[in-house]
Amino acid sequence: MSESVSRINIACRVNGAPRRVQAYPMARLLDVLREEMHLTGTKEGCGEGECGACAVLMNGAIVNSCLVPAVEADGMDIRTIEGIARGEQLSAVQEAFLECGGAQCGICTPGMVIASVALLERHPHPSDVEIREGLAGNLCRCTGYQKIFASVVRACEATSDKRPGKQ
């Protein structure tokens, strides 16, 4: 068996709260979130950066957490799907997904919501092309995408006078 390195201390903010964990430096942020912090809302799909199911926001930018080694999360501000709703109050994006049937089996949904939030923070009034580009990194095997697209459009309408994604 290969020799092992030691776990290292990682300090970051997750959904607004300071967190400290020990992890192997090359552990995937995805696994650190799910197994060390018990934030199991973030899903693993492909594990190779293609499907977007593990998407989280890192310092405000969308990243695939399966491709981020734990050590790179040190000092970062991370927002997962658990940080999108405020308590029991869903965000406009989540409400829109419910209303428009944007979720079926649910595996892609956390990543889709994160991608939609990231999109609406950059483009509060996205064009059709911008919506398609914003969601191009997230794969769904159930919906055929149309209802997800409609959910994003609905979220924009619902928040036309508010900033989407920020409750």
């Binding site: 390195v5 990243v63 790179e72 191009a136 990194g137």
Partner: protein, 287 residues
């Protein structure tokens, strides 16, 4: 099979000098790790054979886009997102911005770096054809000093390059000489978003009254390295893009590239598409 994660080391040196010192003291032991968008994929697949890495992600000396009247210098850690959002790059180096926009998803573009795209040395990488067309130069640094070299010639074979084990790619410099050039970039993959290319083509030409005064052409995924098609360029200097000249250029290109059958495409398809992209590029010059 998944990798055994505790076997992998990823250290975070506090400064550039510390990084270079470590690379110099133990050459070949440590490899740089930037955005991780390629290495983490190999890790998960159990195919990442090297075990010890130095994270360079927080080294400020490898960041930033500096503009002078003569050139634009991009730190090796410049992400695809930073490239495509940069005003001057959009205006003067659109091929690089298009390449950045067509590399992976937004999540990948936020992490993947220009330097990583170069030293990962994939023949299917999207930004190198643009860099070749722009006559890019690259800066390599080590504890021994600094050296600049032309990017053309840096890759010497499949995954082989002119970089010593103690050297780090610090920056990429683009001369601002193509403002008046006609520019063309097209990547052909299985689907329009987030595909690895079957063929990637970048071209730029200085055209005066229909005559090609200068031209540069580069292709990805058609040879063991991203290729500058110099023989095809030579066949075009001083010519007008007539049907006869275009037909001849297609033949020259066929002699110059060496596409293969692999998981993404076939040699036959790649050859045909590479020739068609060349024709599309040259036909636009004639207009």
């Amino acid at each position: 099979m998944r990798a055994y994660i505790p076997a992998y080391d990823l250290r975070v040196p506090g400064s550039l000098s510390e990084t270079l010192a470590l690379l110099s003291r133990e050459p070949g032991v440590w490899q740089p790790f930037a955005g991780g968008t390629d290495l983490m994929v190999l890790l998960e697949a159990g195919k990442l054979s090297h075990k010890r890495y130095l994270s360079v992600a927080k080294l400020e000396d490898l960041r930033g886009i500096d503009v002078t009247t003569a050139d634009v210098t991009l730190g090796a850690l410049t992400t695809y997102s930073e490239i495509q959002n940069h005003r001057l790059l959009q205006k003067e180096f659109p091929l690089l911005c298009t390449a950045a926009r067509e590399t992976g998803s937004i999540a990948t573009q936020n992490r993947g770096t220009l330097g990583g795209n170069i030293v990962n040395a994939s023949p299917a990488a999207d930004s190198p054809p643009a860099l070749l067309v722009y006559d890019a130069e690259i800066e390599l640094i080590s504890a021994r000093g600094v050296r600049w070299l032309p990017y053309h010639g840096f890759h010497t074979g499949y995954k082989k390059m002119q970089i010593a084990p103690d050297e780090l790619l610090r920056a990429v410099r683009l001369p601002r000489r193509v403002k008046k050039w006609r520019q063309y970039y097209r990547k052909v993959g299985t689907r329009r978003a987030q595909a690895i290319s079957k063929v990637c083509f970048a071209g730029a030409a200085l055209v005066e009254k229909g005559t090609i005064r200068d031209v540069r052409i580069a292709l990805g995924s058609v040879a063991p390295i991203v290729l500058r098609a110099v023989k095809t360029e030579d066949a075009l200097f001083g010519k007008k893009a007539t049907p006869t000249i275009i037909a001849a250029a297609r033949e020259t290109l066929a002699q110059e590239i060496a596409p293969i059958d692999d998981i993404r495409s076939t040699a036959r398809y790649r050859l045909r598409v590479a020739q068609n992209l060349l024709e599309e590029f040259l036909s636009q010059l004639a207009k």
